[in-house]
């Protein structure tokens, strides 16, 4: 299983994805620059990603906490999510996300 992550320069990376991992952890473990400074506690807004349009409706909707925390991220769009709040499951095999500005480590 894998996810495809577009970095801030527009390059695509295919990352091996493990069930039960948060998408933020998959990105961080692979070594792409993602700040994620609170370590996945939904407390900082620095693991912000844009979810590819075809995937937006296939994710669990954002919790109120996540929506609040997105207020401290930048250039937030309708497809914005915090990647620490997306738990990877087999249904998400092939998920595409793009790293958002302000999440660089």
């Amino acid at each position: 299983m894998h996810i495809i992550v577009t970095d801030r320069d527009g390059n695509d990376h295919t990352l091996e994805a493990l069930e039960g991992w948060r998408v933020m952890e998959i990105i961080r473990d692979y070594g792409l620059p993602i700040k994620a400074e609170c370590g996945g506690a939904c407390a900082c807004g620095t693991c912000h990603v844009y979810v590819a349009p075809e995937w937006v409706g296939r994710l669990y909707p954002a919790s109120e906490d996540e929506i609040y925390m997105l207020d401290s991220a930048f250039e937030v769009e309708k497809n914005s999510r915090l990647s620490c709040q997306i738990l990877f499951t087999p249904e998400l095999d092939g998920l595409r996300v793009t790293l958002a500005p302000g999440s660089e480590s």
Binding site: K35, E37, C38, A41, A43, C44, G45, T46, I67, Y68, L70, D71, S72, A73, F74, E75, V76, P101, G102
Partner: protein
């Protein structure tokens, strides 16, 4: 500049690891001063996730960031450490030679502390305001764009635009509104995380036409030589793009961590972390230690418990530096009446 204070050890950072260092140093009779940029102890635990549970602290199956901080504060109480909060350690300088060798730590407020040992327990660095990634924003900073309010007078008769949806944004909207020539608030959605009372007051001002509320995102800043004339924005619920006239932008998007002045201390770094040995957790400079998330050594894990271990080993060497003539005797708190006396339990 005030008089130089003196102690055995200056700890930079009052997060969980800096706090526990007070304990380990205290058992060896070493006195500590702590410096932290936040206005409270606890570091990330208190600032980022006070309410979130932590599950990997030995013997505490579940504890929140604030509870962990509170318990550490209780644990180190017998040692009477001095806290200097709301200040950033800006500079370290060596003084004297041989047996007289010591360090002077200077903060951004000009306070100076003299000590034999410096312990950097600064975690991810200093908490500083998040800066929006808007092109050319640097040119406007400290002239028209601000991330904090130090003196309210500075904003008298200004045409102010405040960005953000939390308590800081709302509080400053309400506080500065009476002084300002005009006031507007911009937030990406029509829902605010701030205290309901503040939100109601803000909505009242908007309803009376006393201020504007824009549900929109900032696209860019317009002006020359740092003097802001307007801010271009895009409405959140449509594709409408328009300019908001203003001469001051206050952006409140929360805090982030930057290594900050520590990077200029002249220590060997490894990818923005401070390289240390794993025997004493000393940096490339004698007498300067780094423990917790800010250090690096092969196999390093950024866990609070690693920082606790590092604090204990660091303390042994710190003792040898502060008291080169004394013999260090390793004792257990369970059996040593001497340690128990220090802890106030004997």
């Amino acid at each position: 500049m005030s008089e130089i204070q003196e102690t055995d050890v200056v700890i930079i950072g009052a997060g969980p690891v800096g706090l526990f260092a007070v304990f380990e140093l205290g058992l060896l009779d070493l006195k500590c001063h702590l410096i932290d940029i936040l206005d409270k102890p606890g570091g990330q635990c208190a600032e980022l996730y006070p309410e979130k549970p932590i599950y990997d602290i030995p013997a505490l199956p579940i504890v929140t960031g604030q509870e962990l901080t509170d318990r550490l504060m209780e644990q180190i109480k017998p040692f009477g450490a001095t806290f200097h909060l709301g200040q950033m350690a800006e500079k370290i300088a060596k003084q004297g030679e041989g047996a007289d060798e010591c360090w002077i730590v200077t903060t951004d407020m000009g306070m100076q502390i003299k000590a034999k040992v410096i312990v950097i327990a600064a975690g991810g660095g200093s908490f500083v305001p998040k800066k929006p990634p808007i092109k050319g924003i640097e040119e406007f900073e400290d002239i028209s764009v601000f991330y904090a309010v130090r003196k309210m007078d500075r904003f008298k008769d200004k045409k102010i635009l405040i960005a953000g949806g939390g308590d800081s944004a709302l509080d400053w909207t309400l506080n500065l509104h009476p002084l300002a020539a005009s006031m507007a608030l911009i937030h990406r959605r029509d829902d605010f995380r701030a205290a309901p009372d503040s939100v109601n007051k803000m909505r009242g001002l908007v309803a009376n036409g006393a201020m504007d509320l824009h549900i929109a995102n900032i696209l860019g800043l317009n002006g020359e030589n740092g003097v802001l004339e307007s801010v271009s924005v895009k409405a959140s619920d449509s594709d409408a793009v328009y300019d908001i006239p203003c001469d001051t932008l206050l952006a409140f998007y929360g805090l982030t961590m930057k290594l900050g002045p520590v990077a200029e201390f002249g220590l060997n770094l490894h990818e923005n972390l401070i390289a240390v040995d794993t025997e004493k957790f000393e940096t490339s400079t004698k007498g300067v230690f780094a423990i917790g998330d800010i250090n690096w050594y092969p196999g390093k894990l950024k866990l609070i418990l690693s920082g606790f271990h590092e604090a204990a080993l660091m303390a042994q060497e710190a003792f040898r530096i502060v008291h080169p003539d004394k013999k260090l005797r390793f004792q257990y708190t369970t059996s040593s009446s001497d340690l128990q006396k220090k802890l106030g339990v004997a």
